[in-house]
């Protein structure tokens, strides 16, 4: 196993937390559907980073295996999500998320 620089190893979970907070923030307040999707990707990758760090520190490979899975699922999710966004655009000519309220109870 390649030893990683200790500074990065110490700080990468802070980086991951910052990335996750950024993603969550954008996820909640951005109105462009594509950006919302990108924020989801950001959160996923923050998590990936965290998993890699924990895996490295504890010398257990499970975290890295999880990352592979998450990347796969994220790819599928992005494909579906973009497909939905594309159709929404065809429907209304815009991807502004506040335009889509037809599921109101």
């Amino acid at each position: 196993m390649i030893p990683i620089p200790s500074t990065l190893a110490q700080w990468s979970h802070y980086i991951a937390a910052c990335l996750f907070a950024l993603g969550l923030f954008g996820f909640l307040i951005r109105k462009n559907g594509i950006v919302v999707l990108m924020c989801i990707e950001l959160m996923l990758n923050a998590l990936n980073l965290f998993l890699v760090e924990v895996s490295m520190r504890s010398s257990h490979p499970e975290g890295i295996i999880f990352v592979i899975f998450i990347i796969t699922v994220a790819a599928a999710e992005a494909a579906v999500g973009l497909g939905i966004i594309l159709n929404l655009y065809r429907l209304k000519g815009s991807v502004h998320v506040d335009l889509f309220k037809s599921l109101k109870g």
């Binding site: 996820f27 909640l28 919302v36 506040d98 037809s102 109101k104 109870g105």
Partner: protein, 630 residues
């Protein structure tokens, strides 16, 4: 050979299906021809079965599986014995004649196929009733004839009064049917069997049966019989049933269906033999029904109403015979009554048809000139019902009256009431006869004799009315043996003659004298038209009104049963139904209100949902970690 028994039921059923569902012909002759052919085929089949019975003397039986549940097994079992033989011949023979008559009578109908389909369906159900070898099979036929009766009374259903008359007949019969069913249940509970032969065998041999329960069963079956055979207190439907076409009144409401109650009691005679109290009740109910109906018939003006009350009265006499144990006398009167009452009804039908629907005998008179054939045949029927020798009614009525007097369970009161009913019968039938056929014509319609289709059945029935009595000659006359009693002796228990103050010949003489007295009185009053009768009606005005109003029994029932029942229904629909509705609808309303409230959460905006999701996730996170962080 046994399978042929099912043919008796299936042939008219096929006729009904062919007429009512397949062809639906608007031509009376086509529909009527099919129906009459089926009926006649049935009659020939019944005749050949009867000849076979006369040769071999053994009853035929056949069965198809119906249902089984554990130890309870029930078959579509049919049995053709002497009692069934008599009933089957009467039903199919008179039924065929009435089918034939109907072709002439219903010639201006829009939907004759409906009429003839019902008529054939009736035959099928009635034959099932008399052929069934167990109470449930009999009950199927019993309900079937009730249904056909309802359908045919309300045949002209556009007229609300006629439709209501059908409803009344159906509902009143339900009361009797409920009792009948209870009787069947009690029989099964006691005997663990419902076939007649097994029940009769067990009654005779087993000593583990409760006599009290057997009496209850007999009582329930008797109440069922009062419904179908129009006895007090369930008789008011029969006069209203005259709303149906006249041939129907002849077939169903005079000759066959209403005698189903008599048949039922005769068939379950083994129960009534061990229930002397119920038999006693039956005899008195019959006697008072006979008298009561006869008093009403004295003053009625509608030609069919007179005959209807007369039918109720004659059925009452049959119950007297059953009550005193003279079962074969009752069946004998069923047979002769079927002939002369069917003849009277068909004659009335021919007259109504010839007068274009007129039914008031006060608007008839002198019709012997216009209806010579009908007049001739009616004379025979009237003589028969009045009990003049040697016409059929004389022998059967005499057998009943003598049994009422001389049977161990009979007494002078029964005999006196029955004789009084016979006196009144002779009176009102003579009045009927004189007002219709003698004097001057008092109506407006142009009378004319009907076609051959109308009078040929009358002629055949007239022969029966005149001579049918000869098969059941009383022993006392020493002329011919009592063929009828001998035929039925394997099936029906006989009664032992006890010493009465009159012998058979004496009772017979009294019966003839009574008939002559009734006829003579009516002759004196109605010889010169309606004048004297109207004077008498004015002189005894309250009594006349009471009788004309049929003792106000319908009004009494209306007041004591129908109105309270309607009030109960209103109470139930307004209060109880409301309470039930509120109780049942409360959960439904709760669910709806809850759903509406919760649907507010679904705002539809994507990001609001995202916020809720994230905050919810945070709450969960806090919940999961609360122990660690503190």
């Amino acid at each position: 050979m046994q399978v042929v028994l099912f043919g008796l039921i299936l042939i008219p059923l096929l006729g009904a299906i062919l007429n009512g569902l397949v062809l639906r012909s608007k031509h009376t002759r086509v529909a009527g021809g099919i129906a009459t052919a089926c009926s006649a085929a049935c009659f020939l089949l019944a005749l050949s079965l009867s000849l076979n019975y006369f040769e071999t003397g053994t009853p035929l039986s056949a069965a198809l599986p119906w249902m089984s549940a554990g130890p309870f097994v029930l078959n579509w079992g049919l049995r053709f014995d002497a009692l069934t033989l008599v009933m089957t011949l009467v039903i199919t023979g008179i039924g065929t004649l009435i089918h034939l008559f109907s072709i002439g009578y219903m010639d201006e109908e829009k939907s004759p196929y409906r009429y003839f389909a019902y008529l054939n369906l009736f035959l099928s159900a009635m034959l099932l009733l008399v052929l069934g070898d167990s109470l449930p099979v009999l009950f199927v036929g019993w309900e079937g004839v009730g249904l056909c009766s309802y359908l045919l009374i309300g045949y002209w259903y556009e007229d609300i009064d006629k439709a209501n008359a059908g409803m009344k007949a159906f509902v009143m019969n339900r009361i009797g049917d409920a009792a009948f069913l209870l009787g069947v249940f009690i029989c099964y509970q006691q005997f663990k069997s419902v076939t007649f032969t097994e029940m009769a065998h067990l009654t005779a041999t087993s000593n583990s049966l409760s006599v009290w329960w057997l009496e209850m069963a007999a009582l329930c079956l008797f109440v069922g019989a009062t419904g179908k055979s129009a006895q007090i207190p369930l008789f008011t439907w029969l006069p209203d049933a005259m709303a149906g076409p006249t041939p129907v009144s002849a077939l169903i409401h005079a000759a066959t269906m209403v005698t189903a109650g008599i048949y039922l009691v005769a068939r379950t005679a083994f129960l009534f033999q061990v229930s002397p109290d119920v038999s006693q009740w039956m005899a008195y109910t019959g006697a008072f029904t006979a008298l009561f109906a006869a008093t009403i018939a004295l003053v009625q003006k509608d030609i069919k109403k007179i005959l209807a009350y007369s039918t109720v009265s004659q059925l009452g006499l049959m119950f007297v015979a059953l009550g005193v144990g003279a079962y074969s006398a009752a069946l004998f009167h069923v047979m002769t009554h079927a002939f002369f009452k069917a003849l009277l009804f068909l004659a009335a039908g021919a007259i109504i048809h010839g007068l274009h629907g007129e039914q008031d005998i006060f608007k008839m008179g002198g019709l012997r000139k216009h209806f010579p054939l009908t007049f001739l045949f009616s004379s025979i029927a009237v003589a028969a019902i009045c009990g003049l020798p040697p016409f059929s009614g004389f022998f059967s009525k005499d057998a009943i009256l003598f049994a009422a007097l001389a049977s161990p369970t009979g007494d002078v009161l029964l005999w006196g009431v029955a004789s009084l009913a016979s006196l009144l019968t002779a009176f009102y039938m003579t009045r009927f006869y004189l007002l219709i056929f003698f004097g001057d014509y008092r109506g407006e319609a142009h009378p004319h004799e009907g076609s051959a289709l109308l009078w040929i059945p009358l002629a055949v029935l007239a022969v029966g009315s005149a001579f049918a009595g000869l098969v059941g000659m009383p022993h006392g006359l020493h002329m011919l043996p009592d063929y009828f009693g001998q035929l039925l002796s394997p099936v029906l228990p006989a009664w032992q003659e006890t010493h009465a103050f009159l012998g058979e010949i004496g009772a017979m003489s009294v019966a003839v004298a009574v008939a002559a007295l009734g006829i003579g009185t009516a002759f004196v009053i109605y010889r010169k038209g309606t004048g004297t009768g109207e004077k008498l009606a004015r002189a005894f005005s309250p009594l006349y009104k009471l009788l004309l109003g049929k003792w106000y029994i319908d009004e009494l029932y209306e007041l004591t049963i129908v109105l309270p029942f309607k009030a109960l229904c209103r109470f139930s629909s307004r209060i109880i139904d409301r309470a039930i509705d509120v109780t049942v609808l409360f959960p439904a309303r709760l669910a709806r209100v809850g759903g509406t409230a919760l649907s507010l959460v679904q705002v539809g905006a994507v990001q609001v949902h995202l916020w809720i999701m994230v905050l919810g996730g945070l709450v969960l996170l806090w919940w999961a970690l609360r122990g660690l962080v503190v």
